[in-house]
Amino acid sequence: MTTIIINGSEYPIPEGEKLNAIQMAKRVGIDIPYYCWHPALSVVANCRMCEIETGSKDPKTGEIKMMPRLVPGCQTPAKDQTVLVTNSPKVKEHQRMIMEYLLLNHPLDCPVCDQAGECGLQDYSYHYGQASHRFVEERLVNPRKDVSDLIQLNQDRCIMCTRCVRFTREITQTGELEVMRRGNHAEIAVFPGHTLDANPLAGNVVDICPVGALLDKDFLHKQRVWFLSKHDSVCTRCSTGCNITAEENKGRLWRFKPRSNPHVNDYWMCDEGRYSYQAANDPGLLAAMYVRTNDDLQEVPVDEAMTAVDRGLRQVLELGGHVAGVLSPFLTVEEAYLMARYIKGLNPTSVLALGPVPSRGSDVTIKPDQTKGRTGDTSFIVSRPFTIHAEKCPDRQGVEAILTHFQGAVITFEELSRRVAASEFQGLYVASDSIDPWIDEAASRELRSHVSFLVLQDTNVTPLAHLADVVLAGATFAEKAGCYVNADGRLQYAGAALPPREGALPDLDLFAILLHRPGGPVRSGEVLAELAEAVPAFAVARGGTVPVLGTLLGSSASADGAARAVAFTDSWYVPQGAARSR
């Protein structure tokens, strides 16, 4: 058996994984502080914070031989019979010294620094530093500068860990960032005219910065991070389905931060997704339910609107008409399931169609290459490609799977439009929730002119909304909980970050009311459990639970064991929820 000795205790080394000392120690609950190391970037060992004492144990005699010098934990492999000491006086004195050095020229502006609260310097200063230092000379002052339209660099707060430089070199391979000058005048800079603006993953340099040097101007000075409640969610901006934390305070979203998921997004997310949170804060979102009376849309309470929907659709059927439902790829699988059940339950001849699938450009895949960066030891790094999909919706595959289950084939929106134009349907129920404008004036009129009863369930005011008979205000991506199936067929759970806004209801509740489900608000887990029973494609979600890192639709739950792999989070960026209940 392979074992490692950390601070006097023996621990077994996990099979089949190549870990360094930091990862291994963290796995057994011992923190080795670090700044420059990042599991996706090459090892440079220049912050010197993770230095520990190492040695080896002779397996025969049991004699332990320590090396005289300190070595950085980030480049020490966790090998059999290695001895790590992370808490000796020598190590502690070294950590204290590094903290003193790092803080020499660091400005004392934590109060106005957005990183405060999730800052490596702050956290380690408490754990490993000291309250005072002996530096009485004048500090260096470096003015702040912009590295892109969205990212600001406060050079005086920088600790030269070069994570950002390595990110642009090794992950995006665009190399915008560089170190300029030498010694304690060294600073991060962009080449003139070569900013991060064109980099689709630029926002990640803010996330990986352990201090407040690189800051997102979109979030700048708006909130203190300890006020934010963090909710594990999934980005809905494209079909990659990046794992994110949606961070909320005072009833609105403030930012998205990527969550590590080795099967989906590794540690990153694209800027387009990062700033898509703004759609949930839009003041122009539908704020009430409307029913058409006397050729005018009137604001009505929810129950009236729901009755109007049910009555209208049943009337169409009684008059011998047909009903079609449009399921947008922005719906969660639970919502799609309930809606399909409702439409099919009205009349088995009713038709279900997939809503318009927005697509823009082509898929962009970024393949990291650590050899582009520093030629240090890169053997710990598993480089995984990151794709920004052209398909700008979160759940096409999930909705398609449900449509296939209910009627054998997927009818596209174009096909449905044709059939509507042929006056095949008299009643139409469109559930959209699309973030983007998805239908124009002309298409709306065309669609409307052929049906006698039109229900629209949406979050935004679209041209179709003005023409519909009933407008239901659904929930935005931030307001609903449920599962999405991403481009790789991975079923992932996204939690709700905000309560449903005034006048709107989560789509799941709307469908539940139409279906007369007993009980109050619906829990997505219960629906998912039903769905897993009813639709074989979703059998992995049996019991209504999904692993934290998601699970592949086709796989059996046990075969997807790797999905339970521990994701990585920087120790100073711990999702802590709101600092206090407000």
Partner: protein, 470 residues
């Protein structure tokens, strides 16, 4: 020592010594021909290993041993010649390259043959323009004469030599920094492992050797390991080029067997301390190695003995003499300024520590010293470089030893300086101390803007405590 006959510098006094003609006329390239024709590469490695030739670049690592670290199954090997002679007061490599470039090329040829490297880069210090021109010319000559190029001497062995000029950074004299710079990157030393012998320049096994080391190689092959080990002192064998500079009458570079005492070097070869003064101290081997006091001048200058008086090592064997009218604080000021300027800025202790020491020395020198600063500097030096493993490369060690030595050996003088040189303009104010200690400053000046590191408040805020007075 009069029996010693110069080896490395034997051609220096000859006219046009840098030309191939002169070099060949004095027996040049014979060793290379013999080696390539008769010896197997491993035999060469073993011979050099037997000679216990230690690297002349500063660290004194056995050269042959280094060559054996190369992986056995390597496909390609690179040779880097470290000609980035940036250590202050050192100029032996420059003379070797300017006066006898073919000796170096022959050494490169043999070393590359031994390590089976087919490409060699001479990483040349930017400022050595003359050496650059001479080397380029010499390589042309050698290539034309068949000493370099394809199928050298019919042995089927190919070698190309390129001269690469650095951009003027001290740190590029460190082997991994040199490699990074050679690759076209920023001259930042790499972490080890992997060592360059396993994965060096362009991710290939790489040997990095100093100019003077390589210059020794042809002579070892010509005269044998026994001859080489007959020169010098135990554990430090062979001839060595010493440079003498500073406050001596003659600033020269002389070749002597390893182990000559510092005093002998100054008196016999440097012509004594200038202006009839006495030596106060001497830097034995480039400023990063530390300081010898006047009483310790009898220390032999070899790889081992210098540890005794508390120096880091022989270094580049560049002796700099300080006369008795030189202030130690000035020496420290120059040293610290140099290291603060040349620190690459990669590792935290070196980046911040050298800058801090520099600022502190500047303050002490201009009259703001405190007695506790000396202990603080010692403590910093200990943390910075004397404790092993705090940084990637050895620059921090080099920055730490002079301070440790100077304070250990000249503490009295430094304390006297602090006591007698006090200038109110430079002294540490109460407020600065309070801020550093994290104390609540106790006077009205506490109302300072604490943001953006502004230490001094606008004058108006210091006067009346009432804020409405403006």
């Amino acid at each position: 020592m009069s029996t010693f006959e110069p080896v490395l510098s034997r051609n220096w006094s000859v006219a046009d010594s840098h030309t191939l003609k002169v070099y060949e006329s004095r027996g040049g390239y014979q060793a290379a021909r013999k080696t390539l024709a008769t010896m197997a590469p491993d035999a060469v490695v073993n011979l050099v290993k037997d000679s216990e030739l230690r690297g002349r670049g500063g660290a004194g690592f056995p050269c042959g041993l280094k060559w054996t670290f190369l992986p056995k199954d390597r496909k390609a090997t690179l040779m880097c010649v470290n000609a980035d002679e940036s250590e202050p007061a050192t100029f032996n490599n420059r003379l070797l390259m300017e006066r006898d470039p073919h000796q170096l090329l022959e050494g490169i040829l043999i070393a590359c043959f031994a390590t089976r490297a087919s490409t060699a880069y001479i990483y040349l210090r930017f400022e050595y323009i003359r050496a650059y021109r001479i080397l380029e010319a010499a390589i042309e000559e050698a290539r034309a004469a068949g000493h370099l190029g394809k199928n050298i001497y019919g042995s089927g062995y190919n070698l190309d030599v390129w001269v690469h000029r650095g951009a003027g950074a001290y740190i590029c004299g460190e082997e991994t920094g040199l490699i990074e710079s050679l690759e076209g990157k920023r001259g930042w030393p790499r972490i080890k492992p992997p060592f360059p012998a396993i994965e060096g320049a362009f991710r290939k096994p790489t040997v990095v050797n100093n100019v003077e080391t390589l210059c020794c190689v042809p002579h070892i092959l010509e005269r044998g390991a026994i001859w080489f080990k007959s020169i010098g002192t135990p554990k430090s064998y062979g001839p060595k080029l010493y440079t003498i500079s500073g406050h001596v009458n003659r600033q020269v570079c002389v070749e002597l067997p390893l182990g000559i005492t510092c005093r002998a070097l100054i008196e016999e070869h440097g012509g004594g301390v200038w202006k009839g003064r006495k030596a106060k101290a001497a830097v034995p081997g480039g400023i990063s190695m530390g300081l010898l006091s006047a009483a310790e001048l009898d220390t032999p200058l070899d790889f081992e003995s210098l540890r005794k008086p508390g120096c880091l090592g022989l270094g580049t064997a560049a002796v700099t003499v300080l006369d008795d009218q030189t202030r130690i604080i000035d020496y420290l000021y120059n040293t610290c300024r140099f290291f603060a300027h040349e620190s690459c800025g990669q590792c935290t202790p070196c980046r911040e520590g050298t800058g801090w020491l520099n600022k502190m020395i500047q303050r002490i020198r201009s009259g703001g010293g405190r007695l506790e600063d000396l202990d603080l500097m010692l403590n910093l030096a200990d943390n910075l470089g004397i404790m092993p493993g705090t940084t990637i490369c050895g620059l921090a060690d080099g920055a730490a030893w002079p301070i440790k030595n100077a304070i250990a050996k000249f503490r009295g003088e430094l304390e006297d300086h602090i006591r007698t040189h006090q200038s109110p303009a430079h002294e540490v104010s109460r407020l600065q101390e309070d801020i550093a200690q994290g104390r609540q400053a106790d006077d009205s000046r506490a109302r300072l803007p604490i943001l953006n590191g502004l230490l001094t408040a606008p004058a108006s805020s210091r006067q009346a405590p009432g804020i409405g007075s403006v």
